[in-house]
């Protein structure tokens, strides 16, 4: 243990602790900007500087380790002056038009500057702009970038994708797409983790709320909205609603107030996905000689982009089942349109997803199987949904709970856990056992698939045969497992992949909390919802059963193939620059 004093308070911490963490143990919260624990401790912004007796210079507290007898001041006159100057310098190169910024009120720079009471601009304003392709789902605004390097580090260290890099040196240092590529020609998976870890509005999703408002204003459109499982874990965070208030029912009520004709649940199509994907797995297992294993889940578009760009020769191992978002769109514009007797071309299908890559997925050229128009017209992130609710001055905590509409609004407990790592696997296993044996397993028979570990594995018996399963989340872990599979070090029949660490609950489209990881607590809520569900098996969803009877007949049938499955080779994905090295 090391003893020191911080702001005259005695502190005792483990050797190797940073001054920043040591200060926190005595309730001193030194402001930071670039700091991201364990990922970006590089002392770049210099906001966390402190004065240490006997040292010539101020030191960054985020990456300076404590020493025995150190005397630290976090608010000495020198520190106060320097911290202020540092923030003023950052502000001089930052587009401070906060009123029109998506992160206003949730911007770490704004908070730090406001907290310091900086009320004037000391230095000449020098804001640099750069072009960015407007059609890309992910938007970088150079004028707001403070070069904290968090996006670079998240993409390097957690996602192992290396899309962002420092470009140029000296005063012209900038963050841009690595290897002098444009974002469109890069292998960016659009996971959005850089967005949720950006302290300012320099990174955000493409805003599609205007297109949704346009459709809502069009009397000829029947507006249908689906809400992904993970959205219900985070939609109310903006209003700080407690768990009792932040129910899916209240979320439905808020969305209905926006004016949608039908408010449906992606849980419905998650159950449908299990029917198709589970049947596909069993079918592939029956033809071991024909198919390569493992079969991979395909519901995460970030992961699909990853596999197609990093290991394109393995694309055939993806389940051909569409993601729940896309299955929902296809069903809405076929089965549902028929059912309510309208022209599917008049249906405007919106999804709310915890995800930025879903914006890409719904725009894949071939995803138009129902009527020729895109099956899903617009995919919004959870953040965009929150903005729509705020814009209509709706106060959710005053709303009465409502219910999803029928028939595409029902979902089982198996569907709701799609939003957390291991959930798709667990749901698939529950139904696979039933489909293979005719008997339900215990819904809690697969505990190894739960929890926040980045790489989980277990072998289960399905109809007397061992089924080797693995679950990974985060693309860094994903690369590790795929490489291990390729080297023959591990063998599985079925692998679930989610691009974001912890799964969709921690998705790149979710509300942002200063880089704080939320996947675990949000995922825990989904597990609770599952436990409380009356139905916990996808094959028991009565609306799904009815739809098969009335429309699809059976999983993997002719209609299913046309509407619920896709060819992952039908579109081009830019290749990873690493492929050149491998070849």
């Amino acid at each position: 243990m090391v003893k020191l004093t911080i702001d005259n308070l005695p502190v005792k911490v483990k050797e190797g602790t940073t001054i920043l963490k040591a200060a926190e143990t005595v309730g001193i919260h030194i402001p930071t900007l670039c700091y991201l624990e364990g990922i970006n401790e590089i002392g770049a912004c210099r906001v966390c500087i402190v004065e240490i007796e006997g040292k010539q210079q101020l030191e960054a507290s985020c990456n300076t380790a404590v020493e025995e007898g150190m005397v630290v001041y976090t608010n000495s006159p020198r520190v106060r002056k320097s911290r202020r100057t540092v923030v003023e310098l950052i502000l001089s190169q930052h587009d401070c038009l906060c009123a029109t910024c998506v992160r206003s009120g949730n911007c770490e720079l704004q908070t730090v500057a406001n907290d310091l009471g900086i009320l004037k601009q000391t230095y000449k304003r020098e804001v640099k702009e750069a072009d960015w392709p407007k059609s890309f789902p992910l938007v970088r605004d150079m004028a707001k970038c403070i070069k904290c390097m968090r996006c670079v580090q998240i993409c390097d260290k957690v996602q192992d994708m290396h899309i962002w890099d420092v470009e140029g040196t000296g005063s012209r240092t900038n963050i841009d797409v690595s290897h002098n590529r444009s974002i469109k020609e890069s292998d960016c998976t659009i996971c959005g983790q850089c967005i949720t870890h950006c302290p300012t509005g320099a990174l955000r999703e493409r805003d599609d709320t205007d297109k949704v408002l346009e459709a809502l204003a069009d009397p000829n459109k029947i507006t249908v909205i689906q809400v992904a499982p993970a959205v219900r874990t985070a939609w109310a965070e903006y209003w700080h609603l407690d768990k009792k208030k932040a129910t899916p029912g209240r979320m439905v009520a808020a969305i209905r107030k926006l004016g949608f004709d039908y408010v449906f649940d992606t849980n419905f199509s998650a159950d449908l996905t299990i029917m198709e994907e589970g049947s596909e797995l069993l079918a592939r297992l029956g033809k071991r000689g024909v198919y390569k294993f493992p079969m991979f889940t395909s519901c995460c578009p970030g992961w699909v982009r990853f596999l197609k760009s990093q290991f394109p020769d393995m694309t055939g191992q993806l389940s051909t089942a569409k993601s729940p978002q896309q299955m929902f769109g296809a069903v809405a514009k076929s089965y549902f349109a028929e059912k309510i007797g309208v022209d599917p071309r008049n249906i405007f299908c919106v999804s709310v997803m915890p995800c930025t890559a879903k914006k890409h997925e719904c725009a894949i050229p071939g995803m138009n199987d129902a009527c020729g128009d895109p099956d899903v017209d617009i995919s919004l992130t959870t953040r965009e949904l929150v903005r729509l609710i705020r814009a209509d001055h709706i106060t959710p905590d005053e709303l009465k709970e409502d219910q999803f509409d029928s028939p595409l609004g029902s979902g089982t407990g198996a569907a709701v856990i799609f939003g957390t790592t291991g959930g798709v696997m667990e749901a698939a296993l529950r139904s696979a056992v039933y489909l293979a044996t005719g008997e339900n397993p215990s819904p809690d028979a697969f505990p190894e698939m739960r929890g926040m570990d980045g790489w989980k594995e277990a072998t289960y018996e399905v109809a007397g045969k061992p089924l080797r399963c693995a679950v990974v989340s985060g693309l860094g872990n994903t690369r590790k497992i795929v490489e291990a599979i390729r080297r023959g070090e591990v063998e599985y029949e079925f692998v679930e992949v989610m691009a974001c660490p912890g799964g969709c609950a921690g998705g790149g489209g979710q509300p942002i909390h200063g880089g704080k990881e939320m996947a675990e607590s949000r995922g825990g809520y989904l597990r609770e919802l599952d436990e409380k569900s009356e139905l916990r098996f996808s094959h028991e969803n009565p609306d799904v059963i009815r739809m098969y009877e009335e429309y699809f007949q059976k999983p993997l049938g002719h209609k299913s193939h046309r509407l619920l499955h896709t060819d992952h080779d039908a579109w081009e994905m830019p290749r990873s620059p690493r492929l050149a090295n491998r070849e």
Binding site: G16, N40, E41, I42, G43, A44, G54, K55, Q56, Q57, N63, A65, E67, A130, M149, V152, Q153, D156, D165, V166, E167, G168, T169, G170, S171, R172, N174, D176, N180
Partner: protein
């Protein structure tokens, strides 16, 4: 009012003078990977500040040139701008009245030609081609990329064994390099920005001299693969060491009696004590390397046979053939080559030069080894004949100074013309043509014949030391491509003729430094491992101390001590003494820890494995 006065500099002038010195040191410590156009624009700004303002091209031209460069950097330029930059610079070069103007323009012109690609990238994409791949200056300059800040911190804490373990992750020849490395790591040391580079080699020497207990590295599971290494020098043994750790069965073929290559047969023991070299080789072999000495590949054993018996081959035969000077009388008796002499010494056969007048031709490090060995062998007089000036010698400055201190005469600006022999064919003198230093060619002043008469330098023995080549003949016959006397190996050390054949070190690059041969061996090990279908990593578990109090007060650099020249010139014992502990503590505390401060903490500061 006095008629004349002595100018005493004002405080402002004195301060500016000291700032010039700061800038000089700062340029030395310029990190690699900066934006070249930004640097050109910044240099131009400095040049413009030097302008007196009298003439148009310099006063206005350099300013406008600066504006154009800023346009390029700000993304406001097109290809016409680049043409305008070139035309304007050319005009300033052609019209400026003095060097302040025309040399400033020349710097811009050099850039426009030298890094045109980067100009174009800025113009077309508003981006730069430069990247800071390895931001720690010493690590980036070390060919083997040894974790220098890491081991300096360990030595500072007295953890010498850990320091050596850390170095061995990238370079198994710790002791050898502690004695004789050319230390490119020190060239761009950021400490130059304060005072002077850290004496990195000296710190390594301290670690190497204070290991308490050596260890055998952990070996990977045997792979069952066999690798032949041809040549037991630093490059071959480095490759063998890492391949052995990776679990491959390695056999080293050495054509001489003992291992070590140039470390034994080129470098005299007063620079690298033999017992220390033997210890180091023993450590390397402790990884289970098989050694076959006195086998000349090609002559004693055909290459094709090795190819059949081994899964991969690393050719690291070095450059051991002496080059001929090509003057009349060179084949007289008593004319020998540096290689011949140093090889004999390496095998323990010390010739007797007592009372002899020795003339050595050449100005490289090997020539210095020869003159200084000659002094130690009892020569009456040793003269080093060189075509250029002393400062043009390619030998390290400290080597040249050491030789002079030991009594060697530097006969510079003398071009050998012919060797005079007596009736028995024994050389008796070297005739030289005095030179005048002349035009700069390829960045280096070249010599030209002066009008002075030829001179005669009497000699009992003439030793030619003007460089080495490689013994490529047998390998060439086996189909290995040779270009300008060296093996042609691809970037990654592979040779394109047949599968599993790799080459590196002096035999590929031509005579270079020990650390480059070691680096080539390390690279070869990784590539051979991958070629054999593995991906072993070489890693360490040494915990590196966090940086302590920054020592930012300017402080002189500790130099190593050398034994008294009068004493040391009489024997072959080591001439250099290591630092004292007190000196080591001061010198290690001068390290600025670029692995932690600056870009190093963000990216590329430390590779824990390769």
């Amino acid at each position: 009012m006095s008629r004349l006065s002595i100018i005493t500099p004002s405080q402002a002038q004195t301060t500016v003078e000291s700032l010039y010195k700061d800038l000089e040191r700062r340029i030395i410590a310029s990190p690699p990977g900066l934006c070249p156009v930004d640097m050109a624009a910044s240099f131009l700004k400095l040049c413009h500040a030097q302008t007196c303002g009298k003439c148009t091209p310099c006063r206005i031209g350099l300013a406008q040139l600066g504006n154009l460069l800023d346009d390029v950097l700000s993304g406001n330029a097109d290809m016409d701008t680049l043409q305008l930059i070139e035309d304007t610079a050319q005009t300033i070069y052609d019209t400026a009245d003095c060097a302040i103007g025309y040399e400033a323009a020349n710097m811009v012109l050099k850039g426009v030609h030298g890094f045109r690609d980067d100009y174009i990238e800025h113009i077309q994409h508003n981006r730069c081609t430069a990247t800071l791949n390895q931001p720690v200056p010493c690590v980036s300059q070390c060919p083997a990329h040894v974790d220098i800040p890491g081991y300096i911190a360990l030595v500072n804490e007295g953890r010498y064994d850990d320091a050596v373990r850390l170095i061995r992750q990238d370079n198994p020849f710790v002791t050898t390099c502690a004695f004789i490395c050319e230390h490119p790591c020190e060239n761009r040391c950021r400490r130059n920005m304060l005072d002077d580079s850290v004496n990195i080699r000296g710190i390594k020497r301290f670690a190497a001299d204070h290991i308490s207990n050596d260890y055998v590295p952990a070996l990977a599971e045997p792979t069952g693969k066999k690798v032949a290494v041809i040549g037991g020098g630093p490059g071959g043994l480095s490759a063998a060491y890492y391949l052995s750790i990776m679990g491959h069965k390695v056999t080293v073929f050495e054509q001489r009696d003992k291992l070590g290559g140039m470390l034994r047969y080129g470098i005299p023991s007063y620079r690298l004590p033999r017992e220390r070299l033997d210890d180091e080789i023993k450590h390397i072999l402790s990884t289970g390397i098989e050694v076959k000495t006195n086998i000349s590949i090609g002559k004693d054993l055909p290459i094709s046979k090795i190819q059949k018996q081994y899964d991969a081959i690393y050719i690291a035969i070095g450059a051991h053939i002496d080059k001929k000077i090509g003057i009349e009388g060179e084949d007289s008796n008593n004319v020998i080559s540096a290689v011949e002499m140093l090889r004999a010494i390496g095998d323990g056969n010390y010739p007797d030069f007592k009372g002899k007048n020795i003339v050595v031709i050449g100005g490289g490090n090997v020539a210095m080894d020869v003159v200084r060995s000659s002094v130690r062998l009892g020569a009456e007089k040793v003269t080093c004949v060189y075509r250029r000036r002393q400062e043009d010698m390619t030998a390290l400055e400290e080597e040249v100074e050491g030789a002079i201190a030991e009594g060697v005469v530097m006969a510079t600006l003398k071009a050998p013309v012919r060797i005079e022999a007596d009736e028995n064919g024994n050389a008796v003198a070297l005739w030289v043509k005095p030179q005048i230093i002349s035009k700069v060619k390829g960045g280096r002043p070249s010599p030209a014949n002066s009008k002075m008469d030829e001179e005669r330098i009497p000699a009992d023995l003439i030793i030619v030391s003007i460089g080495q080549g490689i013994e490529s003949h047998e390998f060439e016959k086996a189909g290995i491509p040779v270009k300008r006397g060296n093996f042609e190996a691809m970037d990654l050390g592979g040779v394109g003729v047949s599968e599993g054949l790799f080459a590196g070190g002096d035999c590929v690059t031509g005579p270079a430094t020990v650390i480059r041969a070691i680096a080539a061996g390390k690279v070869a090990a990784a590539n051979i491992d991958e070629y054999l279908g593995f991906k072993h990593t070489i890693a360490h578990d040494v915990e590196i101390p966090e940086p302590k109090m920054r020592n930012q007060e300017p402080c002189g650099r500790v130099e190593m001590h050398e034994r008294d020249p009068f004493e040391r010139k009489c024997d072959f014992s080591c001439i250099e003494d290591g630092m004292t502990e007190e000196e080591m503590l001061q010198e290690t505390s001068r390290c600025l820890r670029c692995d932690h401060y600056g870009y190093g903490v963000f990216k590329g500061g430390r590779l824990r494995e390769w």
